[in-house]
């Protein structure tokens, strides 16, 4: 397992370097002078020059790149234009909210999708299967920026059961978690059904049934356990879409996480903070992919040997 782990981690290094380079390049894609863009048209030439000095924009590109990477290595992502606070502090303050939302969304997805997928596979081609898969298709087609407001209309505005927005009580997590988890639930339900159907065709399932094992035992103890590998993989790989989805969900529900911070920093043209948020989301996504690969390697020894 160790050589597999080392190889996988080594492969990640150039990707992370590439990600950091691309994030560094972002500020230089700003049309015209980035300092002018950040301060707006009304800024005086002195203010613009001061900002250029502060951000190091008046230095050669190579020097800026070296100092950006060196700062990154020290965990220094610069200072937010708006709050004058270090970018890392701004970001770390928001991480708990996004993590809470992402894991709650994942829990919602698993709780809805796995039983739905199992039911669809066990009662294949019946009304249960068709109903479950129609629900899954609706989940895929329904963008979260529509589902969120719809849920808010019904459960917050009409019924008054849950808060419309903000983060406070556990109840405030319900609507954002369902909104963010719905798309993942839809994919997961389809994957659970397909994966379980593949396993149910295997001879060992027939053998277990022939030995007198109950239908529930055959499905849950034998077939479902073996169908877990692709399900776990999908969960890991889809974590990235949860992070991007969080940008929209947090904006809808005024959830004070990284996604909302990103959109707020974009509207304030706070580019160091934009860079920090983008970098954090990308690095988290890469880390999740590595963890998924490692989990896959643990679950299936053939992967390690490839």
């Amino acid at each position: 397992m160790l050589p597999f782990l080392i190889r996988r981690l080594l492969l990640t290094i150039p990707v992370l370097l590439g990600v950091a380079t691309l994030v560094f390049a972002l500020i230089h894609l700003v049309p015209g002078d980035p300092a002018q863009a950040m301060l707006g048209d009304g800024a005086s030439p002195q203010d613009i020059e001061q900002l250029r000095e502060r951000l190091g924009l008046n230095r050669p590109l190579s020097a800026q790149y070296v100092s950006f990477m060196a700062g990154l290595a020290r965990g220094d992502l610069g200072v937010s234009m708006r709050s004058d606070q270090p970018v890392t502090r701004e970001i770390f303050r928001r991480i708990p909210a996004t993590a809470e939302l992402a894991f709650a969304a994942m829990a919602v997805a698993i709780l809805f999708a796995v039983p739905l997928g199992i039911a669809a596979a066990v009662w294949r081609d019946t009304a249960v299967d068709h109903g479950a898969m129609t629900l899954a298709l609706a989940g895929i087609a329904m963008p979260n920026f529509w589902l969120g407001p719809l849920l808010a209309i019904v459960f917050a505005v009409e019924l008054g059961w849950l808060p419309v927005s903000g983060r406070g009580s556990p109840a405030s997590l319900v609507l954002p978690a369902i909104t963010l988890g719905a798309g993942l639930a839809a994919i997961l339900a389809r994957m659970t059904r397909a994966s379980l159907l593949d396993e149910l065709r295997e001879l060992y399932v027939l053998a277990a049934a022939a030995r007198g094992a109950s239908r529930a035992r055959v499905v849950l103890r034998h077939a479902f356990r073996n169908s877990l590998i692709p399900i776990v993989t999908i969960l890991g790989l889809q974590f990235g879409s949860l992070l991007t989805g969080a940008v929209i969900t947090e904006t809808i529900f005024a959830w004070p996480g990284i996604g909302r911070l990103l959109i707020q920093s974009i509207s304030f043209r706070d580019y160091p903070l934009v860079q920090g948020c983008i970098l954090l989301i990308a690095v988290t996504y890469v880390a999740m992919n590595v963890l998924t690969d490692l989990a896959y390697g643990l679950l299936d020894p053939r992967i390690r040997l490839e």
């Binding site: 150039p14 990707v15 992370l16 590439g18 990600v19 380079t21 691309l22 994030v23 972002l26 500020i27 894609l29 700003v30 049309p31 298709l137 609706a138 895929i140 087609a141 329904m142 963008p143 920026f145 529509w146 407001p149 719809l150 808010a152 209309i153 505005v157 419309v164 990235g240 879409s241 992070l243 991007t244 989805g245 940008v247 929209i248 904006t251 809808i252 990103l262 959109i263 974009i266 509207s267 580019y271 934009v274 983008i278 989301i281 990308a282 996504y285 890469v286």
Partner: protein
């Protein structure tokens, strides 16, 4: 052809027709405001009601369909063309060319979903052109990965080796023999990619990073409706239905195409 792809094709064709002729047939203009009637609910004169500035929602949905389809078509065309070219070069030549291209793809794939598009539009400024540019910049990678894998297999096929043995130039082998074998898979991906591009454009417009007012866009309409969830939910409901139905249509069509073009699935179906 089973039922779902037919339904998908019907949805897509209807939307295309509605986008082409709908705005011409409507008695209203997509940007003309009737402020006294703002937020009015559905009626015979305005079947989907009016928005926060008194504009006819049905007219704006029909005009918004044009934006969605244009973004989808341009993004998918550019992404597929670049992806097929880059992926086939990587797969056919292998070696350092493949390594270099694969590393670039790895880096771009490290940004989940539309994150890189959000970042690009954030720095370039919100506009339809920048949305198309940003989505195409990330879109080609999916096609390139798909085509690279297909080309790796195709280059070993006998007819490709025969063409090479007969003295065909590399360009001819690649363009006339190898690339055509990848096109069915690219067609499926492009159809599903239309759904992805439409959702991505709507997401960016919803976040205020896409099409700018007063140009109608489904995502921006949803964003405008958020402030009126309580008093005028129709602002949110109708653009959302439009997005969901069109995305569903492209998904049905893509799934149907995949079933029709995938020999493995054909065999399974004929067996069972």
């Amino acid at each position: 052809m089973t039922l779902m792809p037919r339904v998908g094709a019907a949805i897509v064709l209807t939307t295309v027709a509605a986008a082409l002729v709908g705005p011409l047939l409507m008695p209203y203009d997509a940007i003309t405001q009737e402020l006294p009637l703002r937020l009015a609910g559905p009626s015979a004169a305005h079947p989907f009601g009016l928005d926060e500035l008194g504009r006819d929602i049905l007219t704006r949905i029909l005009s918004g369909a044009r934006i969605s389809l244009i973004v989808g078509i341009v993004v998918v065309s550019v992404s597929a063309t670049v992806g097929v070219l880059v992926g086939s070069v990587a797969g056919y030549f292998g070696g350092w060319i493949d390594d270099g291209i694969s590393r670039v793809m790895d880096v771009l794939l490290a940004f989940p979903g539309i994150l890189l598009a959000i970042a690009m539009v954030a720095v370039l400024g919100p506009s339809l052109t920048n949305v198309v540019l940003a989505l195409s910049l990330i879109g080609w990678v999916g096609y390139a990965r798909l085509v690279r894998g297909q080309v790796l297999r195709a280059r070993e096929l006998e007819f490709v080796q025969a063409a090479r043995a007969l003295g065909a130039t590399t360009r001819r082998v690649l363009l006339w023999h190898v690339v055509p074998t990848t096109l069915p898979a690219v067609m499926v991906q492009a159809t599903l990619g239309m759904a992805g591009a439409i959702i991505a454009e709507a997401s960016l417009s919803f976040l205020g990073l896409g099409v700018q007012p007063p140009t109608p866009s489904w995502g921006a309409m949803l964003n405008g409706g958020r402030a009126h969830l309580l008093d005028a939910p129709h602002l949110t409901v109708f653009p959302g239905v439009a997005i969901a139905v069109l995305v569903l249509g492209f998904n049905f069509l893509g799934d149907g195409l995949r079933d029709a073009l995938d020999p493995k699935r054909l065999t399974l179906r004929s067996d069972g």
